[in-house]
Symmetry: D2
Subunit: 282 residues, 4 copies
């Protein structure tokens, strides 16, 4: 079995030596190790993949890791069994490009997740869910019903054991009620090169400003709008010949690629969050 | 002789037909024509290069163009003789990378301009001016002397017949006294992907925000800080492994390339400004 | 109605004046004009969009254009009514990423074509055709049956009035029998940065060579394998940390974006072919 | 003092644990560790930076490393004292852009090397050497004198204790006489996106082929022309509007940036060569 370990703690001497020693004692072989030190914050980050010839009892393994390593360094850590597929809930609104992109990657085996449902505040994309035979839930959201809608969303997320949420151009603001339950586990795609053009209609704003490059940004959702830890960004060149409609079309290509990359990084446990920034392992 | 004509006016029928007819009647041959219509603003833009076997009297030519074409369409226009080299004043502060880049391009004939002088508020780069045998003027700027300094700058710009100014990482704000004399003829390089990170220390701000891409922007200087018409932008990827110092180093490469591209576009009369945006011809 | 005119001929004086005069006489308004002169080959290229308040008789219009303009300059030209949707036949094999990308763009109205059928030498992707309710034809190809298969393909292309063909990762070589019927109307996506890595398994070859950037290339199919006129290319960075499998995954994203861009350029009549190269209008 | 250790050996269990243990026993602190396993070749690569509060005797340290670690794993390794500046010999021909770029980076402290001399087969760039007060040697090369010229080059390289050579657009082929003395220590810039357009006049070939993207490649020189391990590549978009001259101008910007990046990677000991490919550490 293959295990991935994500660690962060205060930077100290001997951490790598200690962790690799533990893996070795348990009969594992390190097949990937990358570490990073944030010198300003004096924090150490590590991602380590190891393979074991036999299947381990994970609870025992975790207990031993705490006693033999983690406590001594006051580590925050997570352990993932690479054989387990995370469960990804998808929220959409009316645009289909990100949704199609995620579903076709899922379909071809590129995206190793289970998709328990697609949820939307509209019914426009129900037909896509049907095409791919995935349960679809319609939860309308208005100013008045927002609070009730969130209760319904939370119930669905709980009932279907969702591990993380992807906002595939879901045009509603997510409140702390849901964010608190899924900290650093809600991935949004914002259709601008953040921090430029926060909020609504960023392509229109970019057009007005006369920029020569537009972008898209995928980030973890926090309570500050479009201000969460950035996972991935990409850009495309534009010129005076492009209308707002052209910006939108170019942007769609950016959005779907950038969102899918971010989702893949999350699913393969290559992201860590610290100080509202991400460490993205290779 | 080769002439370049830049035109803008309200969008109307028959403009191209009328201008190309004029060029033809004067014995010229159109060797390049590109046009653009801003449909929102209903403005027509055109860049036209033509070659003439004989040397024309430009004053006569201009007079005829006004009478036969420009007046009818209420055109704003400029005519450039491609045989004339514009005179480019360079303002610098302490960083040498943009300056070296401009001078080495000038040196190799890539940049067809005359450089009457390099001006700085510091003496750090005097040695570069000496290396390239270009006059260097040191005009210190403090809060108290700013007004006097600007008078000296204006005198130099006038005495040396400067056509346009390049701020090659000149770290001072240019006031309207100078901008008014050189409208859309002062080119700045800002070390961020505008409109993100306006103002001082953009790389530090980008680092704090945890962006995955940094940029540089060259624009014409207007009275609003870092808000003038954008000529050129470019970006580079960064990651958590890069320190602010790495951002600065990557940024230097962006800055010099982006600034030089913008200068070349300006010098070859491929830029037009409208509504605080640029039309950049190919 | 909006008409698009594509023209090429030997470079001569007065062409633009003559064509814009014709459009004007017929009551049209030029809404886009771009031209290019290949100075080496001395060939003139032009793309002109015009709008007419009334619907024209296109046959009459074409006849007049021949008599009043085209003959005098010995032009090759094509006229397109932008209201007509071209009919796009799709050939696939076993990979679904390019197919899904084309179909989702078609679905959202981004790609203004009709898709009469999807054809494959395998049945793997029949389910995708079913998802999108598009006729699917299975024509197996072996060395022995290749000639018969081509006859069947040609019959389908004729029966369904196909205007152009998109090879969306169709892994078979197209022979001159089909190319001759669809000159510069078969668009292929090759999974390398041509002319590097022509032929089979380009990602494996790129991996072996240790390149730091991989690419994808969309081109019109000619009889020389992977040597036809290039329409569009794009690249992505790779490193020693990427396996061949990673190259393949990164490449899929390139392939689908590059192919879709090329198809859109073709559909909007922005491509012209000359000397085995393309002119791509903005 | 800061030491950088580069290691490669057959992939085995326990290497990281063993090396980090050694560093710790000698009183050092690991400040950077990155490793890579080439699974096909079953080779392990590691780059480790460590800091020591006291200055070590490097010979003793190396001896202990051999006995306590390296021998057991049959490692190939190199140890670098980051306080030492490598000595970089520059070979040029007639183009000045790469030379100016390297010298201005050296000048501003970005490139931490000593430059004992600039060598050329022409005298065109002697003035640049004078501008920067660096010794210049003119060694003409003809078919007849090539062998003698190489003897002179080798003598200079030896006399000036050159550590590595940068071919900053030196247009001559380097023979094995010199390569054998500087294995993986001669850095070339080739003005194409290798492996496309090997050999002379790549921009002309790219123009003929009608590519939409051009590139530049920096690689270590081996006996096979333009086929050595690639260190760094970058690309720029081109279109039908660009002439060969435009390709050359765009290419110059690529060449100087790509070459300088490769030189910096080499100087900071972030490159390892294996199977004619590079591992580039972050």
């Amino acid at each position: 079995m293959n295990l991935t370990l994500l660690i962060n703690c205060q930077d100290q001497s001997g951490i790598i030596h200690s962790v690799t020693g533990f893996i070795s004692r348990k009969g594992g072989n390190v097949i990937y190790l990358d570490q990073h030190v944030d010198k300003q914050a004096e924090v150490f980050f590590m991602r380590l993949e190891s393979e074991f010839d036999v299947d381990l009892n994970l609870d025992t393994f975790k207990g031993e890791f705490i006693n033999e390593v983690a406590n001594a360094y006051k580590m925050k850590w997570n352990l993932y069994d690479e054989g387990e597929r995370p469960r990804m809930g998808i929220f959409v609104s009316k645009y289909n490009h990100c949704l199609y992109d995620l579903l076709s990657r899922h379909n071809s085996g590129e995206l190793q997740v289970d998709i328990p449902f697609i949820l939307s505040n509209h019914t426009d994309l129900e037909y896509v869910a049907e095409q791919f035979k995935i349960p679809f839930f319609h939860i309308p959201v208005t100013k008045e019903t927002k609070s009730v809608a969130e209760q319904e969303q939370l119930k669905l997320l709980r009932d279907y054991n969702v591990d993380f949420i992807v906002l595939a151009r879901y045009m509603q603001i997510i409140s702390s009620k849901i964010i608190d339950v899924f900290p650093n586990r809600i991935i949004n795609i914002h259709h601008s090169f953040l921090p430029a053009f926060v909020g609504a209609k960023p392509y229109h704003a970019a057009f007005e400003r006369g920029v020569k490059i537009i972008g898209a940004t995928s980030h973890y959702v926090t309570e500050d709008l479009d201000a969460g830890p950035i996972i991935e960004q990409d850009v495309a060149t534009v010129s005076h010949t492009h209308s707002v409609k052209d910006f939108l079309a170019k942007g769609r290509d950016l959005e779907k690629i950038v969102l899918s990359r971010a989702v893949k990084l999350h699913v393969t446990h290559k992201t860590m969050v610290y100080n509202n920034k991400t460490v993205i392992f290779s």
